[in-house]
């Protein structure tokens, strides 16, 4: 059933429910009646199969959705899936990593914004730790990276961190000796 498979692939990859009109528009080489029938059949097929997902009609269109029966399992995944770092967290972590030992004031000076919340998150995630208190008025806390930080990046020690120079070196062309006098004639 190639038409059904074609429809299935489109609906699967679409970022929103697809209406029958929209599907027909895309698959102009097929008859509307055939498409309509194939969609309905697909819906029945997935319903009977009762797998982990179904083809359902929502908001005037067709969409694959996980079977609500298994919602608790899906939620388990969502709760424990890997976390992508926010740009501000990444930036703050970078400052702590490259400027440690560093105080919150110093971090905030560099970022130009309040970093209390971000630093707290980094502390909670154990990527950053408090090294101690600076013995100056106000006794601000001093931050540095943790053992977990090294583990996450697979580093033996802080020496393994790529330096800015090394990254900037990628933009530079290597230096060649002057080679003006090549014998170019025959």
């Amino acid at each position: 059933m190639p038409l059904a498979a074609i429809i299935e692939s489109i609906v699967f990859a679409a970022d929103a429910p697809l209406s029958l009109d929209r599907i027909c528009e895309m698959l102009h080489e097929f008859e509307r009646e055939d498409i309509k029938e194939a969609v309905a059949e697909l819906g029945r097929y997935h319903e009977e199969r009762s797998g982990g997902f179904q083809l359902v009609e929502v908001a005037g269109g067709w969409q694959f959705r996980t079977n609500p029966m298994y919602q608790q399992y899906v939620t388990r995944h969502i709760k424990t899936r890997s976390i992508k770092f926010s740009p501000s967290a990444l930036e703050t972590l970078a400052i702590v990593a490259y400027r440690q030992p560093v105080t919150r004031t110093e971090v905030e000076y560099l970022r130009g914004v309040d970093c209390g919340g971000v630093l707290k998150t980094l502390l909670e995630k154990k990527l950053v730790r408090i090294l101690g208190k600076k013995d100056i008025p106000g006794r601000p806390l001093i931050y540095g990276t943790s053992k977990e930080f090294l583990e996450i990046f697979g580093l033996k020690d802080l020496k393994g961190l790529p330096t800015l120079k090394e990254i900037q070196a990628l933009d530079e062309t290597p230096h060649y000796e002057q080679q003006d006098d090549l014998p170019l004639g025959d």
Partner: protein, 262 residues
Amino acid sequence: MITRMSEENLNLDGFHEIYSVHLDKFDGPLDLLLHLIKKNELDIYDIPIAVITRQYLDYIKVLKELNLEVAGDFLLMASTLLHIKSRMLLPQDEQEEGEEELDPRAELIQRLLDYQQYKEAGMVLEARALLGREVFTRSCPESLFLAAQNDEGPLELELFDLVDAFRSLLTRIPVESFHDVAAIETFSIADCINNILSLLQERDMVHFDDLVRDEMTRELVIVTFLAILELCRLKLIRIFQGGQHGNIWFVPAVLQEPAEQG
């Protein structure tokens, strides 16, 4: 021998037209050499160096005539070729008596073979069904996904992202607000500072020798010393010495109050 004899008869007509079309099309000197070998149907294992060198230099000449900048890589290869050519011209008996004479071309041939292999591997990779080009995943996120915020999952972090974040930060702020860009030495010191502070969390007193005991290198002693100076400057530790030339001890300047934050 056969290749040698036919060298001069290779058809070089139309060389200029061909290369003025292909100018800049080569990804490097090895790419150009491979092209010359294929075009002339030469044997890659027995490259007639004189022919290849002349054609290669002709190509560079065309580039120069057109006032195009010739990348250093191309010039470097030109001198390599000339060097091989001159070694090939040495009479047999003047060459050093070795157990086995090494073909001056051997390294170049191996590089060409390797290069050809990776070039093809790249094309094989490109021919695969690529995600986002031939193949797609579901692009509609579950509504659950959008609602739920998770805190328990493992972190996804890349070293490059970290250094890149720092780099883009530096481009945003004035240079003078920075002391010297972190170098390897700075990291060693930071590492050492971290070490000392970890040790001071476990015990109240640390002996200098404890820090350098494992590998007593000059570098480590210096770095450790600098780390201690930095910690003193930050007023994080206090130093004691047990008499003249006695043991050096240090203790935390302030006792930790771990629960406190901000």
